[in-house]
Protein backbone atom coordinates (compact mmCIF):
# COMPACT_ATOMS: atom_id res chain seq x y z
CA UNK A 1 0.00 0.00 0.00
CA UNK A 2 0.95 3.64 -0.35
CA UNK A 3 1.93 3.97 3.33
CA UNK A 4 4.64 1.37 2.82
CA UNK A 5 6.07 3.10 -0.20
CA UNK A 6 8.15 6.21 -0.19
CA UNK A 7 6.46 9.21 -1.76
CA UNK A 8 9.35 9.52 -4.20
CA UNK A 9 8.22 6.25 -5.75
CA UNK A 10 5.04 8.03 -6.83
CA UNK A 11 7.06 10.59 -8.69
CA UNK A 12 8.53 9.86 -12.05
CA UNK A 13 11.17 11.99 -13.69
CA UNK A 14 9.63 13.64 -16.67
CA UNK A 15 10.79 12.77 -20.15
CA UNK A 16 13.10 15.46 -21.30
CA UNK A 17 14.37 16.69 -24.58
CA UNK A 18 17.62 15.43 -25.95
CA UNK A 19 20.54 17.79 -25.81
CA UNK A 20 22.91 17.09 -28.66
CA UNK A 21 26.65 16.84 -28.11
CA UNK A 22 27.08 19.61 -30.68
CA UNK A 23 25.42 22.03 -28.26
CA UNK A 24 28.27 21.57 -25.78
CA UNK A 25 30.92 21.51 -28.49
CA UNK A 26 29.74 24.88 -29.77
CA UNK A 27 29.68 26.32 -26.29
CA UNK A 28 33.22 25.13 -25.65
CA UNK A 29 34.41 26.60 -28.96
CA UNK A 30 32.91 29.98 -28.13
CA UNK A 31 34.47 30.00 -24.68
CA UNK A 32 37.91 28.95 -25.89
CA UNK A 33 37.84 31.47 -28.73
CA UNK A 34 36.45 34.35 -26.72
CA UNK A 35 38.18 33.69 -23.44
CA UNK A 36 41.74 32.59 -23.98
CA UNK A 37 43.14 30.50 -21.19
CA UNK A 38 44.39 32.68 -18.40
CA UNK A 39 46.31 31.96 -15.27
CA UNK A 40 44.06 31.93 -12.23
CA UNK A 41 44.02 35.25 -10.45
CA UNK A 42 46.72 35.43 -7.80
CA UNK A 43 45.75 36.89 -4.47
CA UNK A 44 48.59 39.00 -3.13
CA UNK A 45 48.36 39.74 0.58
CA UNK A 46 48.25 43.42 1.42
CA UNK A 47 51.60 43.39 3.17
CA UNK A 48 53.30 41.98 0.07
CA UNK A 49 52.22 44.87 -2.12
CA UNK A 50 54.84 47.49 -2.87
CA UNK A 51 52.24 50.24 -3.00
CA UNK A 52 51.17 49.35 0.52
CA UNK A 53 54.64 50.02 1.93
CA UNK A 54 55.14 53.18 -0.15
CA UNK A 55 51.83 54.64 0.93
CA UNK A 56 52.49 53.61 4.53
CA UNK A 57 55.90 55.31 4.50
CA UNK A 58 54.38 58.42 2.92
CA UNK A 59 51.65 58.50 5.53
CA UNK A 60 54.18 58.20 8.36
CA UNK A 61 56.35 60.94 6.83
CA UNK A 62 53.38 63.28 6.44
CA UNK A 63 52.30 62.55 9.99
CA UNK A 64 55.83 63.23 11.29
CA UNK A 65 56.08 66.54 9.42
CA UNK A 66 52.60 67.55 10.49
CA UNK A 67 53.34 66.84 14.16
CA UNK A 68 56.57 68.81 13.98
CA UNK A 69 54.85 71.69 12.25
CA UNK A 70 52.11 71.73 14.84
CA UNK A 71 54.65 71.71 17.64
CA UNK A 72 56.62 74.52 16.04
CA UNK A 73 53.60 76.65 15.26
CA UNK A 74 52.48 76.14 18.83
CA UNK A 75 55.65 77.80 20.14
CA UNK A 76 56.07 80.84 17.93
CA UNK A 77 57.26 82.90 20.90
CA UNK A 78 59.72 80.65 22.67
CA UNK A 79 60.39 81.39 26.27
CA UNK A 80 64.05 82.36 26.18
CA UNK A 81 64.01 83.06 29.88
CA UNK A 82 63.58 79.41 30.58
CA UNK A 83 66.77 78.58 28.65
CA UNK A 84 70.07 78.67 30.42
CA UNK A 85 73.00 80.65 29.08
CA UNK A 86 74.95 77.48 28.37
CA UNK A 87 72.06 76.04 26.35
CA UNK A 88 71.85 79.17 24.22
CA UNK A 89 75.62 79.23 23.71
CA UNK A 90 75.66 75.59 22.74
CA UNK A 91 72.85 76.17 20.27
CA UNK A 92 74.59 79.15 18.69
CA UNK A 93 77.92 77.33 18.52
CA UNK A 94 76.25 74.43 16.84
CA UNK A 95 74.08 76.30 14.37
CA UNK A 96 75.68 79.56 13.51
CA UNK A 97 79.10 78.50 12.33
CA UNK A 98 78.70 79.93 8.81
CA UNK A 99 77.38 83.20 10.06
CA UNK A 100 80.19 83.31 12.58
CA UNK A 101 82.80 83.04 9.84
CA UNK A 102 81.13 85.79 7.90
CA UNK A 103 81.00 87.98 10.99
CA UNK A 104 84.67 87.44 11.61
CA UNK A 105 85.55 88.25 8.03
CA UNK A 106 83.49 91.42 8.11
CA UNK A 107 85.08 92.41 11.36
CA UNK A 108 88.57 92.06 9.94
CA UNK A 109 87.61 93.87 6.75
CA UNK A 110 85.91 96.75 8.53
CA UNK A 111 88.65 97.02 11.11
CA UNK A 112 91.24 97.37 8.36
CA UNK A 113 89.21 100.04 6.59
CA UNK A 114 88.54 101.85 9.81
CA UNK A 115 92.17 101.97 10.74
CA UNK A 116 93.04 103.23 7.29
CA UNK A 117 90.30 105.82 7.51
CA UNK A 118 91.43 106.93 10.92
CA UNK A 119 94.92 107.46 9.62
CA UNK A 120 93.55 109.48 6.78
CA UNK A 121 91.39 111.49 9.18
CA UNK A 122 94.39 112.28 11.24
CA UNK A 123 96.11 113.51 8.14
CA UNK A 124 93.10 115.36 6.87
CA UNK A 125 90.92 117.19 9.27
CA UNK A 126 87.93 116.85 6.95
CA UNK A 127 87.80 113.12 6.91
CA UNK A 128 85.56 111.41 4.34
CA UNK A 129 85.16 108.24 6.45
CA UNK A 130 81.63 107.95 7.81
CA UNK A 131 81.34 108.28 11.53
CA UNK A 132 79.05 105.29 11.82
CA UNK A 133 81.73 103.01 10.36
CA UNK A 134 84.11 104.07 13.09
CA UNK A 135 81.39 103.51 15.63
CA UNK A 136 80.83 100.02 14.30
CA UNK A 137 84.45 99.15 14.51
CA UNK A 138 84.47 100.36 18.08
CA UNK A 139 81.37 98.45 18.99
CA UNK A 140 82.81 95.26 17.49
CA UNK A 141 85.83 95.69 19.68
CA UNK A 142 83.58 94.64 22.49
CA UNK A 143 82.53 91.53 20.61
CA UNK A 144 86.01 90.39 19.72
CA UNK A 145 87.76 91.75 22.77
CA UNK A 146 90.96 89.87 23.43
CA UNK A 147 91.06 88.19 20.02
CA UNK A 148 94.00 88.93 17.83
CA UNK A 149 93.16 89.78 14.18
CA UNK A 150 95.96 87.48 13.07
CA UNK A 151 94.22 84.63 14.81
CA UNK A 152 90.97 85.53 13.08
CA UNK A 153 92.63 85.70 9.66
CA UNK A 154 94.40 82.42 10.30
CA UNK A 155 91.11 80.83 11.29
CA UNK A 156 89.38 82.18 8.20
CA UNK A 157 92.18 80.98 5.95
CA UNK A 158 91.90 77.62 7.56
CA UNK A 159 88.19 77.70 6.71
CA UNK A 160 89.13 78.64 3.11
CA UNK A 161 87.32 81.94 3.30
CA UNK A 162 88.90 84.98 1.65
CA UNK A 163 88.13 88.35 3.19
CA UNK A 164 88.59 90.09 -0.15
CA UNK A 165 85.82 87.97 -1.64
CA UNK A 166 83.26 89.72 0.50
CA UNK A 167 81.10 92.23 -1.29
CA UNK A 168 80.70 95.76 -0.10
CA UNK A 169 77.16 95.06 0.97
CA UNK A 170 78.38 92.25 3.17
CA UNK A 171 80.95 94.43 4.79
CA UNK A 172 78.62 97.22 5.81
CA UNK A 173 75.90 96.30 8.26
Amino acid sequence: MEENKNIVEFLKPREREVIEDSYFENMVSVIVAGNPKKEPAKIIPLYQRKSFWISSAAAVAILFVAIRFMNQSGSINPDFDSLSHSELTAYIDHNIEDFDQELLAQYVHVETNAVQAKVESDQHLNSSVPNNELEKSVSRDDLFEGIDQKDILEYLNHQEMNVDDLEETDVLF
Binding site: I7, F10, L11, E25, N35
Partner: protein
Protein backbone atom coordinates in the same frame (compact mmCIF):
# COMPACT_ATOMS: atom_id res chain seq x y z
CA UNK B 1 26.13 4.51 -23.02
CA UNK B 2 29.11 6.43 -24.33
CA UNK B 3 32.40 5.56 -22.73
CA UNK B 4 34.19 8.63 -21.47
CA UNK B 5 37.86 8.86 -20.54
CA UNK B 6 38.82 8.80 -16.90
CA UNK B 7 39.03 12.19 -15.14
CA UNK B 8 42.75 11.75 -14.45
CA UNK B 9 43.44 11.17 -18.15
CA UNK B 10 41.47 14.29 -19.02
CA UNK B 11 43.35 16.36 -16.47
CA UNK B 12 46.72 15.08 -17.69
CA UNK B 13 45.74 16.03 -21.20
CA UNK B 14 44.68 19.48 -20.03
CA UNK B 15 48.00 20.12 -18.32
CA UNK B 16 49.84 19.48 -21.56
CA UNK B 17 48.47 22.87 -22.61
CA UNK B 18 47.67 24.46 -25.98
CA UNK B 19 45.45 22.30 -28.19
CA UNK B 20 45.59 19.45 -25.67
CA UNK B 21 43.96 21.67 -23.08
CA UNK B 22 41.20 22.55 -25.51
CA UNK B 23 40.67 18.89 -26.31
CA UNK B 24 40.52 18.05 -22.62
CA UNK B 25 38.00 20.82 -22.11
CA UNK B 26 35.87 19.36 -24.88
CA UNK B 27 35.99 15.94 -23.23
CA UNK B 28 34.86 17.44 -19.94
CA UNK B 29 31.96 19.19 -21.64
CA UNK B 30 30.90 15.97 -23.34
CA UNK B 31 31.23 13.90 -20.21
CA UNK B 32 29.54 16.22 -17.72
CA UNK B 33 27.78 18.83 -19.86
CA UNK B 34 24.38 17.15 -19.84
CA UNK B 35 24.41 16.47 -16.11
CA UNK B 36 25.35 20.06 -15.38
CA UNK B 37 22.80 21.33 -17.89
CA UNK B 38 19.94 19.44 -16.23
CA UNK B 39 21.18 20.22 -12.76
CA UNK B 40 20.74 23.88 -13.67
CA UNK B 41 17.62 23.46 -15.75
CA UNK B 42 15.74 21.66 -12.97
CA UNK B 43 16.13 24.84 -10.94
CA UNK B 44 15.62 27.47 -13.62
CA UNK B 45 13.05 25.44 -15.59
CA UNK B 46 14.05 27.49 -18.55
CA UNK B 47 16.46 26.76 -21.39
CA UNK B 48 17.62 30.34 -22.03
CA UNK B 49 18.63 30.92 -18.45
CA UNK B 50 20.19 27.47 -18.26
CA UNK B 51 22.19 28.24 -21.37
CA UNK B 52 23.51 31.50 -19.88
CA UNK B 53 24.36 29.91 -16.56
CA UNK B 54 26.02 26.87 -18.12
CA UNK B 55 28.17 29.14 -20.25
CA UNK B 56 29.28 30.98 -17.11
CA UNK B 57 30.04 27.65 -15.47
CA UNK B 58 32.18 26.48 -18.37
CA UNK B 59 34.01 29.79 -18.52
CA UNK B 60 34.93 29.35 -14.86
CA UNK B 61 35.93 25.76 -15.40
CA UNK B 62 38.13 26.74 -18.36
CA UNK B 63 39.80 29.57 -16.52
CA UNK B 64 40.34 27.73 -13.26
CA UNK B 65 40.94 24.14 -14.23
CA UNK B 66 44.70 24.60 -14.03
CA UNK B 67 44.24 25.41 -10.33
CA UNK B 68 41.96 22.42 -9.65
CA UNK B 69 43.65 20.61 -6.77
CA UNK B 70 41.64 17.36 -6.80
CA UNK B 71 40.60 17.57 -3.14
CA UNK B 72 37.18 16.65 -4.51
CA UNK B 73 36.19 14.87 -7.69
CA UNK B 74 36.10 16.88 -10.89
CA UNK B 75 32.34 16.48 -11.06
CA UNK B 76 31.85 17.68 -7.48
CA UNK B 77 33.99 20.71 -8.23
CA UNK B 78 31.88 21.58 -11.27
CA UNK B 79 28.66 20.73 -9.43
CA UNK B 80 29.53 23.39 -6.85
CA UNK B 81 30.38 25.95 -9.51
CA UNK B 82 27.09 25.22 -11.26
CA UNK B 83 25.11 25.50 -8.05
CA UNK B 84 26.74 28.79 -7.07
CA UNK B 85 26.33 30.24 -10.54
CA UNK B 86 22.67 29.22 -10.61
CA UNK B 87 21.94 30.80 -7.26
CA UNK B 88 23.80 33.99 -8.17
CA UNK B 89 22.03 34.21 -11.52
CA UNK B 90 18.59 33.66 -10.06
CA UNK B 91 19.23 36.21 -7.33
CA UNK B 92 19.96 38.80 -10.03
CA UNK B 93 17.02 37.72 -12.17
CA UNK B 94 14.66 38.00 -9.23
CA UNK B 95 15.36 41.72 -9.17
CA UNK B 96 15.04 42.18 -12.91
CA UNK B 97 12.13 40.30 -14.38
CA UNK B 98 10.14 37.16 -14.10
CA UNK B 99 10.60 34.55 -16.80
CA UNK B 100 8.30 31.86 -18.08
CA UNK B 101 8.93 28.42 -16.70
CA UNK B 102 8.47 25.72 -19.28
CA UNK B 103 7.91 22.46 -17.45
CA UNK B 104 7.85 20.46 -14.27
CA UNK B 105 10.60 18.00 -13.47
CA UNK B 106 8.37 15.12 -12.41
CA UNK B 107 5.07 13.48 -13.21
CA UNK B 108 2.81 12.17 -10.50
CA UNK B 109 1.93 8.49 -10.49
CA UNK B 110 -1.52 7.95 -9.13
CA UNK B 111 -1.91 6.05 -5.88
CA UNK B 112 -0.73 8.41 -3.14
CA UNK B 113 -3.54 10.34 -1.50
CA UNK B 114 -1.32 13.24 -0.44
CA UNK B 115 -0.21 13.84 -4.02
CA UNK B 116 -3.52 13.47 -5.79
CA UNK B 117 -4.75 16.94 -5.01
CA UNK B 118 -1.64 18.71 -6.27
CA UNK B 119 -0.26 19.47 -9.67
CA UNK B 120 3.01 18.18 -11.02
CA UNK B 121 4.41 21.72 -11.00
CA UNK B 122 3.67 22.13 -7.29
CA UNK B 123 5.23 18.79 -6.43
CA UNK B 124 8.21 19.54 -8.67
CA UNK B 125 8.73 22.77 -6.79
CA UNK B 126 8.63 20.95 -3.48
CA UNK B 127 10.96 18.25 -4.71
CA UNK B 128 13.57 20.79 -5.81
CA UNK B 129 13.29 22.59 -2.48
CA UNK B 130 13.73 19.27 -0.71
CA UNK B 131 16.85 18.50 -2.73
CA UNK B 132 18.18 21.92 -1.93
CA UNK B 133 17.90 21.10 1.78
CA UNK B 134 20.00 17.96 1.48
CA UNK B 135 23.68 17.72 2.30
CA UNK B 136 25.77 18.13 -0.85
CA UNK B 137 26.74 14.47 -1.22
CA UNK B 138 23.17 13.24 -0.78
CA UNK B 139 21.90 15.84 -3.22
CA UNK B 140 24.47 14.78 -5.79
CA UNK B 141 23.76 11.07 -5.39
CA UNK B 142 20.01 11.58 -5.53
CA UNK B 143 20.16 13.65 -8.70
CA UNK B 144 22.58 11.32 -10.46
CA UNK B 145 20.58 8.24 -9.51
CA UNK B 146 17.03 9.55 -9.75
CA UNK B 147 17.22 12.00 -12.66
CA UNK B 148 20.26 10.84 -14.60
CA UNK B 149 19.52 7.16 -13.98
CA UNK B 150 23.18 6.29 -13.48
CA UNK B 151 24.26 3.01 -11.95
CA UNK B 152 25.89 3.06 -8.56
CA UNK B 153 29.13 1.88 -10.16
CA UNK B 154 29.09 4.89 -12.47
CA UNK B 155 28.28 7.30 -9.67
CA UNK B 156 31.01 5.70 -7.59
CA UNK B 157 33.55 6.39 -10.31
CA UNK B 158 32.28 9.92 -10.81
CA UNK B 159 32.26 10.93 -7.17
CA UNK B 160 35.10 8.75 -5.93
CA UNK B 161 32.85 7.18 -3.27
CA UNK B 162 32.18 3.51 -2.53
CA UNK B 163 28.94 2.01 -3.81
CA UNK B 164 27.89 1.10 -0.26
CA UNK B 165 28.25 4.69 0.87
CA UNK B 166 26.33 5.86 -2.18
CA UNK B 167 23.44 3.50 -1.45
CA UNK B 168 23.29 4.78 2.11
CA UNK B 169 23.37 8.39 0.88
CA UNK B 170 20.58 7.74 -1.58
CA UNK B 171 18.45 6.01 1.09
CA UNK B 172 18.86 8.94 3.49
CA UNK B 173 18.18 11.43 0.72
CA UNK B 174 14.89 9.75 -0.23
CA UNK B 175 13.79 9.62 3.42
CA UNK B 176 14.49 13.31 3.91
CA UNK B 177 12.75 14.26 0.67
CA UNK B 178 9.64 12.34 1.67
CA UNK B 179 9.62 13.98 5.08
CA UNK B 180 10.02 17.43 3.54
CA UNK B 181 7.25 16.95 0.99
CA UNK B 182 4.80 15.42 3.47
CA UNK B 183 5.42 18.23 5.94
CA UNK B 184 4.95 20.83 3.23
CA UNK B 185 1.74 19.28 1.99
CA UNK B 186 0.30 19.07 5.51
CA UNK B 187 0.79 22.77 6.13
Amino acid sequence: MTQHPDDNEILQLFHQGASFAERAFNLIAKKYGKQLYWQIRRITKNHEQTNDILQNVFVKVWLNLSGFNATSSLYTWMYRIARNETMTFLEKEKRNSSVDVDDSVVEIIAGHAALDTHTADEISELLMKAIDQLPEKQAQVFQLKYFEDLKYSEISQQLGTSEGALKASYFHAVQKIQEFIINALNH
